[in-house]
Symmetry: C4
Subunit: 250 residues, 4 copies
C-alpha cells in the first residue's frame, strides 16, 4: 500500500506520469480555474455558498494529499524516520506543496486567500522532475542560453529605441499634449506600446512633426520583433544541425 | 458517359484536377460568397427575391451533382451496386457532400439555413485527396509535426505569460478600474489582446504601477511571437537540409 | 554629344548609374514629393501659384528629358531612324516615360492630374534594367519563387482562420452588436484587423462567449505571422547554403 | 596612485570592466533616471529642492571624474604633458565626457538643461572600447552588414506598400473622411500605423471599398514583418554555419 502510493505520487523518478499524479495535476488546474472564476464579483456574489464549499473541498484535498505524500516518502532512504520527514518538508518542491495547503488552515472557506491559492499553480513545475516530457522545453531553454548575449543586446537595442523615441516625442508633443507627452515617463508609456506594436490608441501624436517622427520610429521598430526572432531562428537551426552532426558521427 | 463522369468527378485518384472538378470548386466558392453576402441585412433585405433564386439554384446544383456522383461512383468496385452506393454515402467526403445538399431540402430558398450552407466550404478539403497540388501544405504540416513539443511548450510559455500578466494587472488596477480589471477573467481579456499585440485599446492600465508592469509585460511579450516563429524557422531549415542530404545520397 | 547623352541616359546596359540618370531619379522623387504635398489642402490652398509653377517646371523637365531620350536612342541600331523611334516609343519602359509626361500637356499647371503624375513613380522601376544594384531584390524574389507553394498554403491557412473567426464572432456577437458583427462581411472586417494584430479597436467583442472565442482566435493567430516568417527564414537559409555549396565546388 | 586611477578608469584597453568603471556606469544610469523623473511635473514640482541637489551632486561628480581622468591619462604616452592633454580632450569619447559635464557649469542646479544631461547616456557607448563584452552586439551588426542589400530592398518594399496603400485609401476615403484621409500625407499616417500593425485606431476606413482595400493591404502587410525577419534569420544561420566551418578546419 505504502509502496503503491510512493510510486503513484512520483516520489521516485519514474519516467512517465502515474495515474494518481495525472489526477492531482487535473485537480490543481480545476482548483486554479475556480480561484480565477471566484474573483469575478458578478459570479461569486451569487454563489457564495458554492465557492465556500469549493474552497473547503480543495483545501481538504491538498491537505490529505500532503499527508499521504509525507507518509509515503518514508520509503525513500533520505527521508525516512521523523528527522527525514522534517528534512523532506524543507525541500523546494515540498515547500511549494506546503504553500498550497496554507489557505486551507488560515482562511479555510473565505475568498481572501486567493493569492495563496494561486501559488498552487507552481506545483505544476514539479512536472519538470520527470525527464521524458520536457525535451521541448529544454530545447527552448538551451537556445536562449546559447544566444543569451545576442538576445541581451537585442533587448538593449529595443530599450534604446524606446528611450530615444520617448525623448523625441516628449520634445515634439510635450508642449501640446501635456497629459499624454508632458514628461519622459509619460512619453515612455507611448513609446513602449507603439514599438511593441500593441498600439492601444489611448495616446498618439497629433502634430505634423510628431507624426513624421512616429513614421520613422515605427518603421525602425520593425526590428524590435525581427532581430530577436532572427536570433532565435538562427539558434534553433544551429541546435538542429548540431544534433544531426552528432548522429552522423554516431 | 458514366466513365467520363467518373473521371471528371475525380472519383479515381487522378493527379490533376479535371475541368468539371474545377468548375465545381468555383461554384462552391461562388455559393459561399452569396451565403456571406446574404447575411448582410442592408443588401439581402433589398434583394430577397434574388437571394431566394440564388439559394434555389445552388441547392439544385449540388443535389444534381450529388446524384451524378452517386451514379458514376458505381464504376469503382467498392461502391458498385445498391449496397456499394449506401456504403459510399457514409464515407467521410461523401457525408460532407450530403451535408452540403441538406439545405436544398429543408429550407430550399430561405436564409435560415446559412450555417448548413457554409458547410459547403468543407468540400474544398476534398482537394486533399489529390496528391500533386498539396506538397506545400504537407510540408507545413510536417514541420508542425516535427516541432510539436517545442511549439506546445512555446504555447505554454505564452499561456503562463498571459496568466501572470492578468493576475498582476488585476492586483494593480482591479481596485481602480473595476469594470476593466475587476476580476482575473476580465484581466485575462486585457492580457490576451495585449500580449498578442492586437491592442484594441478598449481597456488599458491607467495607474503608474499598472503601466510600469505593462512595460515589462509587453517587452517580455516580444517572445510570444519570436519563440514560435524561431521554432518554425528552424523546422523549415531542417526540412530543407534533410531533403538536400537525401538528394546528395541519391 | 549624342553619344554622351546616350551613355548618360543609360540607354545601353551599363552596370552602374550615370550622373545624369541619378539626377533624373532625384527629380522624379522630388516631383513625387510635391504631388504628395499638393494633395494636402491646408498647404496647397495657400500656395496655389507656387504649385502651379512646380507642376509647370516638372512637366517641362520630363518633356525635355523625353525628347532628349528620343533623340539619343538613335545610336541603338534597333531604334535608329523614324521607324525605330516609333518602335522605341512602344517599348514598356518608354510607355511609362510617356505616361509621366502626359499631365504636362493635358493639365499643365492644374492639380487635377495628380494620379497621372504619381505614375512617374513607375519610372523608378527602370532601375531594374541595370543588374548590379538589384542583387538583394533578386534574392528576395527568388526566395518567394522557391517557396511559392508553402507561402500560398500559409495564405490559405490565414484566410481560413479569418473566415472561421468571422463566422464564429457573427454567431456570438451578431445579435447584440448589430452594427459591428451583424453580418459576416462586417465580422470579416473585425477578423482581419484582429488576426493581422492591427487591432484598431473600433469594434471588439463584448459578450463573454465572444471574448472567450477571441482569446482562442488571437492565440491561434500568432501562426498568421509565424508560419510565413518561418517559411521565408527557411528559404533564405536554403539560398545561402546553396551558394556556399557552389563556392565549395568552384 | 596615478597608475591605479589609470587602470581603474579603463584608459588602457583592459578586457574586463574595473570596479571604478562599473561604479561610474551605475552613476550614469542613476543620473539619467533622475533626469527622466525630473521631467514629470507632478513629481518635480513637489521636490524642487531635492532635484536641485541631485543635479548639483551629479554635476560635481562628473566634473570631478573628468578632472581625475584628465590627470590619469598622462600615463598614456600619446596624451602626456599639456599638449597631450589638449589632444586627449578632442578625442571622440573625451568630447562626449565633456558634453556630459557642461550642464554642471551653465545651469548647475536648474532643470532647463535636461537635454544636455541626457547626453550622458552616450557615455555608455564607451563600453564598446572593451572587446570582451560586446561579441553579441558585433554579431548583430555583422548580420546587418552581410544582409544590408536584402534589408534595404525589404525596406523599399515596405515603403512602396505604405505609399501605394496611402494613395489607395486617399482615393477611397478622401472624399468622406476629409480630416483623416483628405490628403496623401494624412493617408500616409494611417498607412504606416496600419502596416506596422500598431493600429492606434484614431483613423480607419469606414466605406465598404476602403475596408475591402484595407483587408488586402493588411494581409499583404504580413510580409512587412515576415520579409526582414526571414532575411535576418537566414543571416544568423549563415553566421553560425560559417563559424562551425572554421572550427571544423581548425
Amino acid at each position: 500500500m505504502k509502496e503503491f502510493l510512493f510510486r503513484q505520487l512520483s516520489l521516485d523518478k519514474n519516467p512517465s506520469l502515474s495515474i494518481l499524479t495525472k489526477i492531482i495535476y487535473i485537480v490543481i488546474f480545476v482548483s486554479i480555474f475556480f480561484v480565477v472564476i471566484e474573483t469575478e464579483p458578478s459570479i461569486s456574489n451569487n454563489y457564495k455558498h458554492f465557492f465556500f464549499n469549493v474552497n473547503m473541498f480543495f483545501g481538504s484535498f491538498f491537505v490529505f494529499e500532503y499527508l499521504l505524500r509525507l507518509y509515503a516518502v518514508g520509503l525513500d532512504k533520505r527521508y525516512s524516520g521523523f528527522k527525514g520527514r522534517i528534512f523532506y518538508i524543507f525541500t523546494p518542491f515540498s515547500l511549494i506543496d506546503l504553500l498550497a495547503i496554507i489557505p486551507a488552515f488560515i482562511f479555510p472557506g473565505s475568498s481572501e486567500s486567493f493569492l495563496l491559492r494561486l501559488f498552487r499553480v507552481l506545483r505544476i513545475f514539479s512536472i519538470l522532475r520527470t525527464s521524458k516530457n520536457t525535451e521541448g522545453l529544454r530545447l527552448i531553454i538551451k537556445v536562449f542560453m546559447n544566444k543569451k548575449y545576442e538576445l541581451l543586446y537585442s533587448l538593449l537595442i529595443t530599450l534604446s529605441l524606446i528611450f530615444i523615441s520617448a525623448v523625441l516625442l516628449y520634445l515634439a508633443e510635450g508642449g501640446i499634449q501635456k497629459e499624454a507627452f508632458g514628461s519622459i515617463p509619460r512619453s515612455l508609456w507611448w513609446a513602449v506600446t507603439t514599438l511593441t506594436t500593441v498600439g492601444y490608441g489611448d495616446i498618439y501624436p497629433i502634430t505634423a512633426i510628431g507624426r513624421i517622427l512616429t513614421i520613422f520610429i515605427t518603421i525602425t521598430g520593425i526590428g524590435v520583433v525581427a532581430i530577436p526572432t532572427g536570433i532565435l531562428a538562427g539558434g534553433f537551426s544551429e541546435i538542429l544541425s548540431q544534433s544531426k552532426d552528432k548522429s552522423n558521427l554516431g
